[in-house]
Symmetry: C2
Subunit: 203 residues, 2 copies
């Protein structure tokens, strides 16, 4: 294995161990020592990759967000018809949900930490504004191509992001008695129903 | 003033001072001493009303939820046409928003505390299930009265609650560049658009 590859692999192992430790003990309570032990790396190796526990936390957030943004870009490149794009987004949300289940304490602690620190704040909440911009752009594109009604694109984008945030939070909280698997598609369909230019332009 | 009235007034003063202290210092950092000083009550009076800081926190949550549930009941009693009820809900959300702005750290800390404690958890997240049931019932009523499409009432209720939770969270986080005042009505209109049985049964 090349040095560079080994370095990437070490980094990935630290990140995976950190998620596990954060979920089990909470961000505040988890220590760099524990994370190193769980990842099987030395403290020297840890600090080579991450100057602090907070830097690690920010890297985790950034990873999650970049994955999401990358899948949005793929969807935009592959699909022209905007309502179809949003259907694909609902599929992506399903995967986010699978990861999110049971992670509520971690998310809420991250967000709470973020309210106390401007860097973490920007890392945690900046992305929602980027997602908002992407969706607003798509909706305007949909209006131009005639697939969506001439709605207020900003408002529709806020509605979409809010719905997504609310769904993820509720899934993370493991609300019982609700079968979450099919919810994102269903919710997106309900919202699209109100946005589509004609009764059924998808067919 | 009667003893009972004075007692209620003291309780209300403690609750108001607690919100203020929690917002300024956070739940964990705020002390009973500070809250007593801010409310102008003795520690004896405090503990007469609330056995602990956590009991105070639960009472705050319960107050907020009861206010919301009371307004839902009023709406149900006053309005028969279900789509109109949801329009009224959007108006109520606007008031919630006014209160929520800038309170993100407090909400997130409360929710985070709730993940560590079953009693707080039930107080914080039980209500979403109650709201879900209320909305699902209303949607079924709307389907019966012919004002709503024969959608999956459970799914539509999840969508509504998620949208509400997501909107409140985003407002609480004071996302910039978005004028939140008119958002709840607009978002509700978008969603209703997909739920209404005929193009415009409200008129």
């Amino acid at each position: 294995m090349s040095t560079q590859l080994r370095s990437l692999e070490t980094r990935a192992r630290i990140l995976a161990a950190a998620v596990d430790q954060f979920i089990r003990f909470g961000y505040e309570a988890a220590s760099v020592d524990q994370i190193c032990a769980a990842a099987g790396v030395s403290k020297g190796a840890f600090y080579h990759h991450f100057p602090s526990k907070q830097a690690l936390f920010l890297a985790l957030l950034e990873n999650w967000i970049q994955d999401l943004e990358a899948s949005f870009e793929t969807i935009r490149d592959e699909v022209d018809w905007v309502p179809k794009r949003f259907e694909r987004i609902a599929e992506v949300l399903c995967h986010v949900f699978e990861q999110a289940a049971g992670r509520a304490p971690l998310y809420l602690e991250f967000w709470y930490q973020a309210t106390k620190d401007l860097t973490a704040w920007n890392a945690s909440f900046g992305p929602y504004q980027r997602f908002h911009s992407i969706f607003a752009e798509w909706i305007e594109e949909g209006i131009r191509q005639g697939s969506l009604k001439p709605v207020d694109a900003n408002l529709a984008a806020v509605t979409l992001v809010s719905l997504g945030v609310g769904l993820v939070l509720q899934v993370a909280l493991k609300q019982e008695g609700i079968e979450w698997g099919r919810i994102p598609q269903g919710a997106m369909d309900l919202l699209l129903e109100g946005l589509l230019a004609s009764p059924d332009p998808l067919k």
